[in-house]
Amino acid sequence: MLMLDKALKGSRRYWMWLLCLLCVIVAGLCFYLRQLNQGLGITGLSRDVSWGLYIAQFTFFVGVAASAVMVVLPYYLHREKQFARVTILGEFLAIVSVIMCILFIFVDLGQPSRVLNIILYPSPRSLMFWDMVSLSGYLLLNAIVAFVTLRAEREETPAPRWIKPLAILSIPWAISIHTVTAFLYSGLAGRSFWLTAILAPRFLASAFSSGPALLILLCLALRKLTAYDVGKDAIRKLAVIMTYAMTINVFFVLVEVFTVFYAAIPEHTVHFEYLYLLGGGHNLAPWMWVSAIFAIAALVILFTPAWRRTQLPIACILVFTSLWLEKGLGLIVGGFVPSPLGAIAHYAPSLPEWTIVAGIWSVGAFLITVFYKIVLSVREEVES
């Protein structure tokens, strides 16, 4: 019997959850078909803000995908046994995130029927080509490592020897996917908001905090909903990783802010002013402040000994939301506004856009549920 069969046997709650997700997916699909028919005009995108929520979500989930390295690295390289029960969860999270990234790129295309031109006419000078290579390679690596180790676990045989080199290869590869994604933006001379060498380090820092935050939340949810417990040690270690990555991320942002405002080159300051100036009538500014406040609040919780364990779920939610707002919204839109010609074009995602994004999130939730269900059933079967 296939491992996939395990996903077919579940409680009523499990099926209801999948059904709900399916409904959202169908709603997203309907709007996507409309977008296919009418063009990207049904989104909030415009001539001046030509990338929006889709690409921002793509960027954010590349980070989540890359963060799998934070469990793979300690487990495979430093033999940290605490991560034994969480590593495969991290790998499946990476797989699902990459799939979501691919979907976000796909729905953003104006001519999706020509998407294979990227392979038919490969252009090594374009970073998008390298992003495609690194993302698909990462997906493949993680899929092989996760499925082969899970299969070995189920058959109660040791995992084949060649898995370890692959797992270790996935570590630098994870760094590469987010670095290349940062280069997509930071290599554009005309967009001064992104034209900074710290963009790639910033991306990595935010990835290594948002990814573990999500993983901790998923682990806690599993503990609550099922009998599966990854162990206190693993969660504590993940929390430490998240804390320091978040600290570094905030530090990087402040470094950027200093450079921009002390040098005071208008081309650079305008973007920050657009994003953070309250009362300027910019619809993003309040959200950017929410992001900043959440980040500080999360750090306060994580650095206070009395709270760091008891309030961990809240801290994780704060970290995740803060970074989602910063990276999944502000970073992309902030790069486009003001436009090189100085135009301030407001961007607000439209209902179809939100629904399509929700549909892709649901695809992710659906897949992660199914994958985790398989993992948990296999472990349950082996342990009993």
């Binding site: 009418q38 063009g39 990207l40 005009g41 995108l45 415009s46 001539r47 001046d48 030509s50 990338w51 790129i105 953003d108 295309l109 104006g110 001519q111 999706p112 020509r114 998407v115 031109n117 990227i118 038919l120 006419y121 252009s123 000078r125 374009s126 970073l127 998008m128 080509f129 495609m132 997509l184 933006y185 290599g187 554009l188 001379a189 005309g190 967009r191 790069g335 486009f336 436009s339 090189p340 010609l341 100085g342 074009a345």
Partner: protein, 254 residues
């Protein structure tokens, strides 16, 4: 009608072979080898725009209308979805770094015609993941609308805002279609092509011919004796954001 073996060989074998060889040759020699590459004299098409002449007839949009008619450019009411090949902006917007604090209002508020700069080192072609936009040997930055996947990376890369994306089907917004030039389909990026299709027939770009003031001077920048080169020798010209290293082929006489 029977397809003879000869036909079969010619149409399938040879064309496949030829296409394959061409592809291989292209990938070895980076820019697509154009027919003009064979001629000994290098070509770099360029344009000089005399703003003083343009200022004389303020509010004249002959160049824009000529371009719109020639290239089936849709007139979309929604500003967010506009498609523009050549258009005008205030001087202060076009040359933000060339403004002095106390410049006369007449200068800062004059409308300046804008179009694709056909850069010598274009950032847009560098980022295109499918080579749907590329620089020809004669300096024209071309778009292949058959190949564009609509990722809009080039729109993000262009520092001049010269690229437009078709957010909707342009056909309903075209007043009268010029059958000689294709319309575009939704989901592709487009921009000024320096009237490549007119150059091929020995004509000058539509905007150049349409201007009653003869504001535009078009010619081969690689030829020291060409009209634009003579103008540039005689008068001081600026380019848009030259500090980005893109090397625009459009010059403005201020």
């Amino acid at each position: 009608m029977k397809i003879t073996r000869k036909d079969f060989l010619r149409i399938s074998g040879l064309s496949l072979l030829a296409a394959g060889c061409k592809r291989a040759a292209e990938s070895v020699s980076q820019p697509a080898s154009s027919v003009r590459a064979a001629s000994t004299q290098p070509v770099r098409w360029g344009m000089v725009i005399d703003l003083s002449k343009c200022r004389e007839k303020d509010g004249c949009n002959a160049c824009i209308h000529a371009c719109n008619a020639a290239h089936n450019i849709p007139q979309i009411a929604n500003h967010a979805h506009e498609v523009k090949w050549i258009w005008t902006e205030p001087d202060a917007t076009v040359f933000p770094s060339a403004q002095t604090d106390f410049a006369p209002q007449t200068v800062t508020e004059t409308k300046v015609p804008l179009l694709c700069n056909h850069c010598a080192n274009p950032p847009c072609t560098r980022v295109c993941p499918t080579q749907a936009t590329w620089k020809r040997d004669d300096g024209i930055v071309m778009m292949d609308w058959h190949r564009c996947i609509g990722c809009r990376y080039c729109v993000a890369a262009c520092p001049y805002g010269s690229r437009s994306f078709n957010f909707e089907d342009p056909r309903p917004s075209i007043e009268s279609i010029n059958p000689d030039f294709p319309t575009r389909t939704k989901g592709v990026v487009e921009k000024c092509n320096f009237c490549e299709e007119r150059l091929a027939r020995g004509l000058k770009p539509a905007c150049v011919d349409a201007c009653p003031q003869r504001v535009f001077t078009f010619g081969n920048l690689a030829d020291p004796e060409s009209e634009p080169r003579q103008l540039l020798r005689e008068r001081f010209a600026v380019q848009r954001e030259p500090e980005l290293g893109t090397g625009p082929s459009v010059f403005y006489l201020v």
